[in-house]
Symmetry: C2
Subunit: 250 residues, 2 copies
Amino acid sequence: MSDLDPPLSTAAMLAIGDEILSGRTKDKNIGHLADILTAAGIDLKEVRIVSDEPERIAAALNDLRTGYTYVFTSGGIGPTHDDVTADAVGLAFGLPVDEHPEAVQRLSEHYAARDLPFTPARRRMTRTPEGATLIDNPVSVAPGFRIGNVFVMAGVPAVFRAMVDAVLPTLPAGRLMLSRAIPCAHGEGVIGDPLAAIQKRYPGVAIGSYPKFGEGKPSTELVLRSRDEVALDAAADEVRAMVAALDQAG
Amino acid sequence: MSDLDPPLSTAAMLAIGDEILSGRTKDKNIGHLADILTAAGIDLKEVRIVSDEPERIAAALNDLRTGYTYVFTSGGIGPTHDDVTADAVGLAFGLPVDEHPEAVQRLSEHYAARDLPFTPARRRMTRTPEGATLIDNPVSVAPGFRIGNVFVMAGVPAVFRAMVDAVLPTLPAGRLMLSRAIPCAHGEGVIGDPLAAIQKRYPGVAIGSYPKFGEGKPSTELVLRSRDEVALDAAADEVRAMVAALDQAG
């Protein structure tokens, strides 16, 4: 890479909720965020799922926010007693948590327009750590928030996605990770050794091998990833030649 | 709970693989393990997903194995160079990693019976930290392994499931977590305050509220969970009465 490359941004995700850990809800947000960040050239390096306990959330968040450029959280920002994310984020940052005036305004207008009371439970959704900025929620109004390098978003997939869409354009895009996928009609036991030899010659290219077990015969998909297109294509050529040689031999 | 209750076992899962973090593969093992552990009365308390880097895997594993009764890992035990889990587990435990004689026997017989060479790549799948015991793999032979309180299993979902099935009967079953699901035609903003009051009266019952946004009107599913059936049913009665009162008022 040249000196002109933008610095590489890394990210972690923290999914919050007992319902994921009990199996009751199957998470749909991790895969979505992974896709979106990869497309934006930001490396998702770690994901954690923790229960609705403020101390556990805060401890995980402090690990992640000091280790990566950005942290994205999902879940725990609704109006009920088990929504403890705002308090946990305040705990992690050592900041007081209070009603955010702009959030109060948005929600009070929203409920007034619908002749619904602005209950204490609904007011819970306006609470953020001091100094947070809001993340828009075009689906159900109650906002997420950003504090430091942490983006706090809803767990409901439609709302999570809308909030990710709101946040992504505000981040500097990284240099895109490029990839080449090469189908291979041979199992990992056959390709393992020659593939390791190619990997050794191209340290800047991550070569992944993903086994498939279908139609009786093992096969693999080989995926090469790099931000350096020249090295990537050279390595891909070698992998294709290896597969062709195995095809002939077989 | 009485003094006769079995001690509560906790668990964590460590999913390993760049392909999950890039979005290329959507994890299917977390939700499955969550379901199985919940049914077995073992509390899944944390999940982490990390990349194929031995140091990161080892650091996460050391956090988890000292914090929970059991740790289940998925991924990174195949024959290719990007399968680094066995080495990472050895690193975490400070143990040498070498070919496990029983694994060598199983795989050498398997390949001999198929007239396939037992290549160095295939031999990689026999490597375990010293002192590990094998986990059977009825799908594709190459075993997982257990070392201490850590169960190391494959990432391919069919193999992961078969290995979980092999491991679970070897663990002491915990006292089952019981649950009651109560549908509620009111949104979280309406139920938040009365629900919080009920939660306060039943500290031994975890009351979760899961919003739904369908058919124009918000509704929720309320799920109460506890190992104490008497407290659970008492709390569930109160929640049902609260919902009925809201139905009448609405």
